[in-house]
């Protein structure tokens, strides 16, 4: 019998009953205001209760304002949604990081930073970017509202066993190239549906060298390549991040947990269903030019010509993208002007992301005509950035410094990019209308977005001085 992959070990350890489909036990259920109200309503309607409130954590992030908390929520529907979550969590005894809690933030930022996210756990949330938590060697994936209700009621989920995919990032990461470029580069090569039906394990020298924040950026965007989950085996970097986090095991429990976590690596003789290689050593910083995250290319290149695509469906897709994005084939990416810059999101709203952006803008000014905003991923990230002087750097440069939330990543609150305007964004999706109806998104790393804010156009951050 051949060895097992990291994914297979976690899967096997969580089977309550069945084989394929298996009933999987859920160790951590993260809940937010947008995809949970109908689930709680369904539970109440059927007279059911939450099976394990102690394994459930709720926060508000998607639709809340990022202006001063004292101003409250202006939009009555968002306010009702947030109030509904507060009432539901009180009723069922679930820990709730509400708007006035210093631990509030984006669900995929607060889970890790408070130690809820741990290797080997099965983690679910009614949000497709739940794949983020796979950075710790957890099996983490997004679910719909019906499944949220199922997990609330039973702490389990019926799942078909997905296929396994290894993505090997070969070679060291070159200077100026970030985790965001690794994942954008991969998605541009595999396509937006390339990971369908698979769980990806990210491997290789480039991945091992990444910090936890960087690993979270990589795993976060697994879903943009079509994979519900992406994961990285835990190692010393993982343990160093976790130790002493509020919810991390303590004392003898820590030792026992580490013993188990150290077993969570893919065996040398394990077999993946699919393997891809990415040449990380020769990677160039990437930007998106189209309306899905696979429509992405190196910053040194230019807007593609639809005629270069042989598949008619791909060609139509490029034509539509260039029309929406108002771009002409052959335009160099570095010549594309931007009117907005957004630094934040569950992809790039962590402390290291803010440090990276602040490093670029220190002592400089946002270009005239550019509106630049930093939205920390959590209130703890915000506090830390303020303590380190990052907030001051951003504000002196002309950035707006906000309260934590999802903000312009999906623009459910007031942080909407106007029609026809162009945004350099550290978020994860460049879908039509994502940041505002008719708004044009270019995805990139925090350093690249920060440089674009100062230059007023896209730039190759490797040329930055």
């Amino acid at each position: 019998m051949s060895g097992r992959t990291l994914f297979e070990k976690i899967w096997d350890d969580h089977i309550v009953t069945g084989d394929d489909p298996a009933l999987l036990y859920v160790d951590l259920h993260l809940v937010h205001e947008v995809t949970s109200p109908q689930a709680f309503a369904g539970l109440d309607h059927a007279g059911r209760k939450v099976r394990r409130p102690d394994l459930t954590l709720a926060t508000v992030d998607h639709a809340i304002p990022t202006t001063a908390r004292s101003l409250g929520i202006r939009d009555p529907r968002s306010k009702k949604q947030v109030d509904t979550l507060r009432v539901n969590t009180e009723k069922h005894g679930i820990t709730f990081f509400g708007l006035d809690d210093p631990r509030q933030g984006i669900v995929h930022v607060v889970g890790p930073e408070n130690g809820y996210t741990q290797p080997g756990k099965v983690i679910v949330c009614g949000d497709s970017h739940t794949s983020t938590h796979g950075a710790f060697g957890a099996l983490a994936f997004g679910i719909g509202t019906s499944e949220v209700e199922h997990v609330l009621a039973t702490q389990t989920l019926w799942q078909r066993r997905p296929r396994t995919m290894a993505v090997e990032f070969d070679g060291p990461v070159p200077p100026g190239v970030t985790a965001k470029d690794l994942i954008l580069g991969m998605i541009s090569q595999l396509g937006v549906g390339g990971g369908q039906g698979h769980v990806i394990e990210y491997r290789g020298e480039a991945i091992r060298s990444l910090s936890m924040e960087e690993r979270m950026t990589v795993c976060n965007m697994s879903i943009e390549g079509g994979a519900r989950a992406g994961m990285i085996a835990p190692d010393e970097t993982t343990l160093a991040y976790l130790e002493d986090r509020p919810l991390a095991p303590k004392g003898g429990d820590w030792e026992a947990a580490v013993d188990y976590w150290e077993s969570l690596t893919t065996d040398p003789d394990a077999v993946f269903d699919t393997t891809h290689h990415i040449d990380a050593a020769n990677l160039i910083p990437h930007v998106s030019w189209g309306i899905n995250p696979a429509q992405t290319a190196p910053i040194t290149s230019s807007v593609p010509d639809p005629d270069a695509f042989s598949d008619p469906i791909d060609r139509d897709s490029v034509v539509r993208a260039l029309q929406y994005m108002d771009l002409r084939p052959g335009t160099r990416f570095v010549d594309i002007p931007v009117q907005h810059v957004f630094v934040g999101s569950c992809t790039n709203g962590r402390i290291e992301d803010l440090r990276s952006a602040a490093h670029i803008v220190a002592g400089k000014k946002v270009a005239s005509g550019v509106t630049a905003v930093v939205v920390p991923g959590s209130m703890q990230v915000k506090a830390q950035a303020e303590a380190e002087g990052l907030a001051e750097i951003f504000e002196s440069a002309g950035f707006s410094w906000r309260e934590a939330g999802c903000s312009s990543c999906l623009a459910m609150n007031d942080d909407v990019i106007p029609t026809g305007e162009r945004c350099a964004s550290t978020s994860n999706r460049n879908f039509e209308g994502r940041q505002g109806r008719g708004a044009r998104t270019h995805l990139m790393s925090p350093a690249m977005a920060a440089a674009a804010a100062v230059a007023g156009h896209l730039v190759d951050v490797r040329d930055w001085s």
Binding site: Y25, E147, T154
Partner: protein, 197 residues
């Protein structure tokens, strides 16, 4: 959940690849706390002007397409966000089935959970059905029990996960079924390590 066995009716072709759930139901409708009433907002930003008036002959504005039962979509339909609201909107508008070469994984799971039938067929079969669907009066018949799609003179067989098929045919409540596994769930919980809080 209403059981599904056969879906018969007219159809709507939507050949574009990679249609994401942000397009199916834009974010401005996600602040509602209800599970119903999303049909009016299906593909809202493609179908309306900024002021909210109908902007085009897109199918939701086309009286000839009203009452259609089957959406015939492009590859990777429903990719992106996990929002189940996208499935609620498609179903609430009146569709009972979606046919495509492939689907986003989370979207397809969500469809099973609300009783919307998804059928995967090869690209060329889907293209052929989309061709037939150019005629708004053309009908299609999707038979889940027999696993066949019939349109014009064509009959296409399709594969489906037998467990999903059973759930759709019977309209089963999955939570009620899982709760019958109480003993094994409790036994599993008693085996979990103490540090795993």
């Amino acid at each position: 959940m209403t059981p599904i066995s056969v879906v018969t009716g007219t159809m709507v072709p939507l050949p574009q690849a990679d249609i994401d759930t942000d397009q199916i139901i834009p974010k401005q409708f996600l602040t509602r706390i209800e599970r119903t009433g999303y049909g009016d907002f299906l593909f809202h930003d493609w179908a309306t002007t900024e002021e909210g008036a109908p902007s085009s002959d897109f199918f939701v504005n086309d009286p000839q397409r009203a009452g259609a039962k089957v959406l015939v979509a492009g590859r990777n339909f429903g990719c992106g966000s996990s929002r189940e609201h996208a499935v609620w909107a498609i179903q609430d508008w009146g569709f009972d089935a979606v046919i495509a070469p492939s689907f986003g994984d989370i979207f397809r799971n969500n469809c099973v959970n609300v009783g919307l039938l998804t059928v995967e067929l090869p690209d060329d079969h889907v293209a052929l059905i989309q061709q037939i669907a150019q005629d708004p009066n053309a009908t299609i018949r999707v038979d889940l029990e027999q696993q066949v799609v019939e349109a014009a003179d064509y009959v296409f067989e399709f594969d489906i996960d037998p467990e999903v098929k059973e759930r759709l045919l019977q309209g089963l409540d999955p939570i009620g079924l899982t709760l019958q596994e109480e003993a094994v769930i409790a036994a599993y919980e008693s085996r979990r390590p103490v540090w795993l809080t």
